[in-house]
Symmetry: C2
Amino acid sequence: VAADEPKLTTTEYAVLGLLAWREMSGYDVNRAVDNSVRFFWSPAKSRVYAVLPRLLDAGLIRRRDVGGERGTDKALYGATPSGKRALRRWLLADTDPDLVRSPFLLKLFLGDNASPTRLHELVDEYAGRTRDLLDHLRAAEAAVDASEDPYALLTIRYGIRRGEAGLQWVDEAHALVDTLERAARSA
Amino acid sequence: VAADEPKLTTTEYAVLGLLAWREMSGYDVNRAVDNSVRFFWSPAKSRVYAVLPRLLDAGLIRRRDVGGERGTDKALYGATPSGKRALRRWLLADTDPDLVRSPFLLKLFLGDNASPTRLHELVDEYAGRTRDLLDHLRAAEAAVDASEDPYALLTIRYGIRRGEAGLQWVDEAHALVDTLERAARSA
DNA sequence: ACCACCATGTAACAGGTTACATGATTAA
DNA sequence: TTAATCATGTAACCTGTTACATGGTGGT
């Protein structure tokens, strides 16, 4: 008799999801987060470690100690059948809305209080970050095996499309700041 | 003798920024948040009220009681010169990185554990939300006076460009899920 | 009479972050 | 020997959320 659907946080589902993919140590989970999920879900490392015992207590993952290997005290975790079921139920349930928090856009919105020069700088910094992100994502895109991990590919492409749109907007933004500058000078 | 640059949270700067624009009540600030900043910065209403006394104590805003007007106990807040300076310093300082939290992309990434049908649904829900957002932003775009509030326009356009990119990606996503489905059926 | 909006918060909680601590192993 | 990587956490803090509470005012 399954207990009434225990509510997990999204972070817990994220970890559970990674452990449904393969058996890993907490350290491995953190690495997996770092080169996949972190663009849209990024728990602190300490949070990942904190989440593991909770999933364990709920019977959604199991722990296997691998102490002998090289003298290290290391534990591997993997999703149990019950954990996989919980994961599938979560995938079918309503999805929490996305959250964006952009100090950059906030500063831009309050641009009245800054000089045009500073606004150009701000936009340039955004452009730089976005280019870095795109470099990273394009490298990742080239590196994934599409038939092996199509879903990773999908999320990478999402990032790429949106990043490209961001760069297009950058030109618009510079142009608009220039216009304002000229208007201010002629006034 | 100004105390050593008090650190404010981004939420505090957001509120300060709105109060530098014009004098408002806490309620007004919440409304202002709701029809402008909320797409990239969205504090809870109670948080806004909690932040006001802190800014007041720091001398960054001043309070003016307007009790007589209609028997209501209402206070208007506005940025002080010191507050405006703090705001300008913040605009010049390093910008915290953007944060995205997308349970949607997380679910997609873990798509292995869901059916193609469910994945189509997931993408459709995203498409719906994105279309709604675009409708809203386009209406807002048409409503702003570009010469009056160019920075708002800039952030709106940002949302529009990225939203459009999202919708383009949606087609890709459906196509890829279809491909997987066919591949699975033929296997 | 009632509902929507104006107006201001309090209380309880949780989820998450940063900084710190510790120690083993391995490659340069 | 030193630095990087593997490996696992603890402690303190805090930002922020949700739910609740309260009351006036204006329109229909």
